[in-house]
Amino acid sequence: MSFSSEKKNHHSQNPNPNPTSPLKKRGTRWSDLWLKHTTKSKPLNQMVVAAAMQQLQSLSSPRKSNNNNVNTLIPNFSIIDQTLLLSDELLLKILSKLPDSQRNSNSLVCKRWLNLQGRLVRSIRILDWNFVLSGRLIHRFPNLNHVDLIPGCLILTQSSNIFLSSNVLNMHIDSGSSPNWFFCEENMLPVEVIDNGLSALANACPNLRRVQVIGASEMGLLSVAEECPTLQELELQKCSDNVLRGIAACGNLQILKLVGNVDGFYGSVVSDIGLTILAQGCKRLVKLELCGCEGSFDGIKAIGKCCQMLEELTLSDHRMDDGWLAGVSYCENLKTLRLTSCKKIDLNPGLEEYLGSCPALERLHLQKCQLRDKKSVSALFSVCRAAREIIIQDCWGLDNGLFGFATVCRRVKLLYVEGCSLLTTEGLESVIHSWKELQSLRVVSCKHIKDSEISPSLATLFTTLKELKWRPDTKSLLPSSLRGISMGKKGGKFFKRT
């Protein structure tokens, strides 16, 4: 058998070599060429591999330490790297079945494994921007779909012990940080650096689906928009109206989270201008989350009219001008409206007849909001009168009077109330009785709702429900073997057992 003639035969018989080759890091050994084609049956191929298999089997099991005898001719093989018999495809098959926790040790086996393991990684969080700029990220992980760049954009002092966190952002700060409350702005990389990293990433990973970044400018985002047409999900922190010009170029964007202003971290303004630009550019939006954004009726109306596919709108800690609520009714396909951490809803929503309502709304979800204002709450329930599910968690100021406005929602099937301490059984009952379609009720940790105040009619209503979770009394969450909890002398708590 002449091996050079085999190689020639190879090329003539296999015009389409295995697409998962070549391995960039190793020089091509003759063994690579024929060994990679073992998956397809060509007679000459088979003979060559058959000889190798026979050789393998004639070797006894305990393997001696590896030498570099791979380059010798077949009959003289002593030890060979068995993974060479596995094409990249086969080895990837095995590697893909191993848990993610083993990724790191697999990467250290040898250079080929590092390469293959890196190809399997789809999502990553960057901690060090140099890893992106130097090209190491792209070199090691060429098939990324999801990249979280936010920690990398912040200059982290790794040794600092102070951890500052909000619901959107976490960072470590130095004890020597200056006392003004813009910690993040001071510790962020310059815009140009972030943009450079973004465009390097976009150029190398055209299949990016999801990116999270902070402090980018429209230039960086434009490069992502141009190079990554499949980008579907984006989180932009420290976003401003200018930056949104870049986002408008991402035509396929479906999920977007914009963070404008985070108290104590950074301040930046997203206003109607930005929202309108966004609406006109990203018509395929399905989910939109606006945190700390300004704006008003016009911006929301623009989004409602342009983004016909919008199904979920979340406002977190909003700084919108009064009167914005009426804009929500322009979102004709909106299914979920969520308000979290809002200090106010809408202090001047305008006249009832101009409010409108969301025709397709299914869910209203309020979390950690201040609900003290009568006009706000009544306008909110009015806009959401088609809702089928109402979820109110940890909201302040919701008393019986305000909750009474919810009777305007006639189609409610599910009510979940948690942590609303001003609500009483009576207030709850009067609203529930008007909801003829109610099927599911959950009441958790509402301390003024007492079991003793359940009227017979309410009890009868409970029997008609498909699902009932009644735990208004927080004490019922403790194991019954505890007699109670008291404060010990040094301020610690201790439990007395029966």
Binding site: R26, T38, T39, S41, P43, Q46, M47, V49, A50, M53, Q54, L56, Q57, S61, R63, N66, N68, I79, I80, D81, Q82, T83, L85, L86, L90, K93, I94, K97, L98, P99, D100, S101, Q102, R103, N104, S105, N106, S107, L108, V109, C110, K111, W113, L114, V121, S123, I124, R125, I126, L127, D128, N130, F131, R136, L137, R140, H146, D148, Q158
Partner: protein, 160 residues
Amino acid sequence: MAQEASSSTSSKTISLKTGDGEIFEIEASAAKQMKTVQRLIDDLGDDITIPLHNVFSKELPKIIEYYKKDITGEITKDFEAEFVKDLNDDEVKVLFLAANYLDANKLFEFLSQNIADRLESKSVEYVRKYFGVENDFTPEEESKLREERAWSFRGIKEDE
């Protein structure tokens, strides 16, 4: 050379000849599961002994045993556990390669999972020894990789 199906009249058997010259019989329906064999049958006809150059008499019986169970629909977790229990590492590897060559998908998936299970949570050295892989990193490269792992990036869980 042609060997007729001898046993039952309802199911046909196919003759397979291994690379080291031994002949085994399998049911035609089992042969269907091995796409390579099926292709050869389509090309050469089912009355001829099908030559399998890359599979040997050591592993073919095991493969036949697996597919005998498969066509009766009796493959359970217990059977699979029993199947691999006494196989040492080399045997599993050889079976894996044979299953790949035969394009026998079910067995291939099962064995690749088994190899993954054998490697799970094992150290780098163990994995190297298992496959006979040589460490081609220099100490500097290796420490650079470890550093990157500690300081430059993290993985992301799916629901984040």
